[in-house]
């Protein structure tokens, strides 16, 4: 996909950040933040996933637009599946 060879230093930096985020998300779960515990856990998970996709999977450096369209479309399908289904289940008590 990309012939761009990244420095190994960048990979090690991403790795350290991912490990730190893992420890942080586990530690924060013991702190009572009310409903925000779930929000924080999912935000951290999304940051980790983004780091893996952008750097380890080289998406940040790819020149191929089609790849990016496929990724965005896949996430959008997942969003449709989850959001529309939960719009149903989450509103049933209203009727």
């Amino acid at each position: 996909m990309s012939e761009h060879v990244m420095s190994s230093k960048l990979y090690y930096t991403i790795w350290i950040v991912l490990l730190c985020l893992t420890v942080i998300t586990a530690a924060v779960s013991f702190v009572d933040l009310g409903r925000f515990n779930t929000v924080v856990a999912l935000v951290i998970a999304t940051i980790k996933a983004l780091l893996v996709v952008l750097f380890f999977m080289h998406v940040k450096y790819t020149s191929e637009r089609l790849t990016k369209i496929v990724i965005v479309a896949a996430i959008f399908w997942l969003f449709l599946l989850l959001a529309l289904s939960m719009a149903d289940y989450g509103s049933r008590h209203l009727s």
């Binding site: 060879v5 991403i14 702190v31 790849t67 289904s85």
Partner: protein, 233 residues
């Protein structure tokens, strides 16, 4: 081959004759893998949806089930997978630079991390077996009801949490086993010297698969282990 009437230009595996050039071939392979990963997102997506709906209906049971998982083993396993993703990324880099020996070492390390993850997962599953937390006839939520008197726990939806736990971690583990198989294959051919700085597409798209499986776990870990860990009042 040589007495063929049509002059066929001979290329290495990095440029098969039905592609315009090596770059187009590489892009096509990577795009194919990304399309496959898009279907994988939908495959796991169904399970995440089931999880979401039942967690919405039976929050207490999900919270209690989540508490009963071993958060230390879960965190260690997350770290193991992140380390394996690092070795994969460094492996692709070694392949890009044509460093065969380093590539083989990094692929082997990835396999070791893969087995470590599966081993730890097996230990966790065995704990669940001993605690009678595997859904079915011998399932019992009595220990959870005793340990968390502050939470109202209904044993039937408690089984749904553990059903989803085993289905999701099980499907993820199947992907890990397939991933280890792919990497054994890649290691063999890397050792034989098939991959060069000009042709390393199998390493790259095998790596894409491995990173994807890592990302699935990055979401499974908070969703299954970290639902509700705060001190009970």
């Amino acid at each position: 081959m040589s007495d063929s009437p049509v002059a066929v230009e001979q290329h290495g595996p990095e440029h098969l004759h039905h592609f315009v050039d090596a770059e187009q071939q590489r892009d096509a392979a990577a795009l194919g893998m990304w399309l496959f990963l898009a279907t994988e997102i939908m495959f796991f997506g169904g399970m995440f949806l089931a999880y979401l709906v039942y967690r919405y209906w039976y929050y207490n049971e999900f919270a209690a089930g989540s508490r009963s998982l071993d958060i230390y083993l879960g965190t260690i396993n997350t770290a193991v997978l992140i380390c394996s993703s690092l070795t994969v990324a460094l492996g692709v880099r070694a392949a890009q630079m044509g460093n065969r020996k380093l590539l083989v070492i990094l692929l082997l390390l990835t396999i070791v991390f893969g087995f470590a993850f599966l081993g730890i997962k097996g230990v966790e599953w065995y704990q669940k077996y001993e605690e009678h937390h595997i859904p079915g006839r011998s399932f019992s939520a009595d220990d959870l009801i005793r340990d968390y008197p502050q939470i109202h726990i209904d044993p039937r939806p408690e089984q749904i949490y553990f059903s989803l736990y085993f289905a999701m971690t099980g499907l993820h583990a199947v992907h890990m086993i397939i991933g280890v198989g792919i990497f054994v294959f890649l290691t063999y051919y890397a050792w034989k010297g098939r991959y060069t700085s000009k042709y390393y597409t199998p390493i790259e798209i095998g790596g894409l698969y491995w990173h994807f499986v890592d990302i699935v776990w990055i979401y499974l870990f908070p969703l299954l282990y970290l639902i509700d860990r705060k001190p009970l009042r």
